[in-house]
Every structure is written in structure tokens, then in C-alpha cells.
Symmetry: C2
Subunit: 200 residues, 2 copies
Amino acid sequence: MARPRSKSRGELIGGAMRVFWKNGFASTSIEDLVSATGVGRGAIYTDFGGKEDLYRHSLAAYRAKFVDPALALLNDGEDGLDAIRAYFDYFIALHKRHGMPGPGCFFANAMTELAPHDASVKDLVNQHAQDLRVGFRIALKRAAKAHSAILSAAELEELAGFLSTASQGLWSYGRSIDDIAQLECFKKALLKLLHLRMQS
Amino acid sequence: MARPRSKSRGELIGGAMRVFWKNGFASTSIEDLVSATGVGRGAIYTDFGGKEDLYRHSLAAYRAKFVDPALALLNDGEDGLDAIRAYFDYFIALHKRHGMPGPGCFFANAMTELAPHDASVKDLVNQHAQDLRVGFRIALKRAAKAHSAILSAAELEELAGFLSTASQGLWSYGRSIDDIAQLECFKKALLKLLHLRMQS
DNA sequence: CCAGTTATGGAACAAGCATTCCAAAAAGCA
DNA sequence: TGCTTTTTGGAATGCTTGTTCCATAACTGG
């Protein structure tokens, strides 16, 4: 053994993730990755299969670092509507920290840029969409219980899919607007509608 | 006068629009545009300022050809909820014709790819979002009247913004899924919620 | 302190890119 | 038919890209 890495594999992925997330795949050059991570050009090819492979690892890292905590919020607390509110607050806070226009959701970005042309990215993106759908379904179920509302399994699934898709639109939207209040407005409108559904 | 164009300026923009819409800006090369439109390499630089300028013209052409008819649907009919349903049916039919995964919405794609880095694209995208918001607001107002529901101006605006953002999520989603039924499912869930709001 | 091993990062490479240029072709006009 | 005007599309340009290579540097085990 000799010459340990100056930057660990995790640091490389983490740095790459931030650049890919913000700028997308095609607009990010190897040079951008090198200067953003401080890692050597060679490491991208000795540790990974190249640019595409690093991108896929970045998506996985994003899920672990940002999505999983958000999904955990959906499972927390007694009233599912509060959990859903917490989920949106989590990502809105992320955008507030970053400054607007924000980075959006890495998966939503991949959905528009790469999923139509890269099968493995498409699978990762659809897996994320399903994870989100499951999270919302569980939260909605708790919400129905807390508000004594009657929701069939089919209605639950339908509503969960709706929430998953609509929230992707919110994060896309966050990439082009300057005012974070519009994100809050979306959250408010959505929760009003859900509250109404739970009371009917 | 001599040598009329083999392809008109409109044909050039129309062909370019389809390629940019499907593949995005960075992944579309001049060669792709040339082979897709059948137009000469030079025409892109004599008739337009280059690739970026042609992209902006493509966005405008997309609005004229696909968005304006959809916005007209939002203004049509007595019950605004039917108009909103017609709007979604219009774009779902577009995806059905194209085959899944679909092309999504050109503006939604531009929102994630270019808006954060190109100010003029950002303006075009935000203008589109506002057009959509206005369209939904007008439809919602008619819906409230038809269902004798009471909605304040603020609530109307809030709901219109929500619809505009959520629908962008739907078209993004259309780029990564194989089953068109999920688009229908979203529409169904959304209209159920709106119907509920109009009855309260 | 030396030998062995492995990461390093600048140079090199071929391919692809957007853009420019221009000789030739094609059409209108007289 | 000839002259002018304008488009045309291939060649050329200079730059950037993703990827490979390798002499060097740096660390470890003995």
C-alpha cells in the first residue's frame, strides 16, 4: 500500500453531485468537475467508469443525503398533513439556504434532461418517483386517520401519485424564479386542498 | 432578386423546435439541426444570430403552435372545470400521438436546463408561467360561478399559481414514464380536488 | 532508508463542437 | 442568352470535449 487518496471517493461524488445538480449533465465538463472537487483528472476514470457513471453515483448520493431525510419526515408524527407540510418546508428551506433561483430537485432535473435518452438514469428517476409516491401514501393514510376521513386504497394511490408529480413541478419551478414566496404559496394552496379532502 | 430559399424561415424554426424540444439545448448539435431540417449550415447564421438565437425563436414558435391553442381552451365553455379538463386532455393527447416517453413541455424543459443560466430564456419561461397562471385564474373564476362557490381574489390567484406549477410537473413526468395512464390519473386526482373546492 | 506500490495531474489525443468563409450553383431580370 | 444577386453546402478554423497515458511524486512496509 502507498499514496492514499488526497480526496476520498465520497468527497469526489459529493462535489460532482453539486455541480451536476446545478448545471446538468451535458453542460458540466470534466474540467468543471476537476476544478470543483479538486480531484485529479485520472481519478474519475480509475475510480469510476467515466462521466456517465459518476453522474449515476451522484444521483445515488443525492438520494442518500437529501431525499432520505425528506422521506423520513413523511413518516413522522401523528397527523400526515403535518408530515407533508414538513416535507415541503424541508426543500423550501434548502432553496432558501441556496438562494434563488434554486437548484431544484436533482431527480427532477435528470427527469427532463437524461431520462428520455438514458435507460439506467430513467430507472433511477422512476425509482425515486415511486419512493416519493409510497412516502406520500403513508402520510396520507395517517392524515385520513387523524381527520377521520374515508379514503379507499385506490383514492389513496391516486392522490399519492398526484402529490409526487405535483411536487416535481414545484422544484422545477424553483430553478427559474427569484421569489421564494411562490414556493410557499404552492405549499399553502396544496395543503388547503388536502385539508378540504380530509374533511369531506 | 435570385435563388429563393429551398426551406422557408418558418420551416427552419419548426424543425429546430422539434429537435430542441425533444433533446434539449446542449445535446443538440448544429449538425442535428441541419439533418433534421434539411436546411444549409449557413442559413442558421445568415437568418439567425446562431444556436442560442434559434433556440429562443423555437420557444416562441412552440408557444404559438402549441400553447396558444391550449390557453384558448381555458377560455372556452361555461364551466371552468371542463375547460381545465380540456387543457389537460389537449396535452395528454399530444403525448399519446407522440408515443411515451413523451417530449414533455418545451417550456418546462427550458425551465430546468437553461433558465438558471440564461437570462433571456428565463424571461420567456416566466412569461409563459404567467400566461398559464392567468389562463387558469380565468377558468377558475368561471368554475366558481358555475358551481356557486365563493373564492376571494387572493384564493383565486393562489389556486391558479398552484395549477400552473403542478401542471409543469406533469409534463416533466411525461418524459420519463412509459405508461400514459399515469398522466390521466394525475388529471383525475386534480379535478376531483378542484370539484371538492367548488362545492365547499 | 530503501524498495515497492499506487495515486497524481499535466500532456497528449482524437473526436466533436459552433462558427466562418467562399466558390459554385441557381434563379430573376433584361 | 448574359449579368447580377442571393442562397447553398462543403471545407476550413479554432476551440472544447471526454478519455488515455505516463513520468513523477508520495506514502508504506520492511
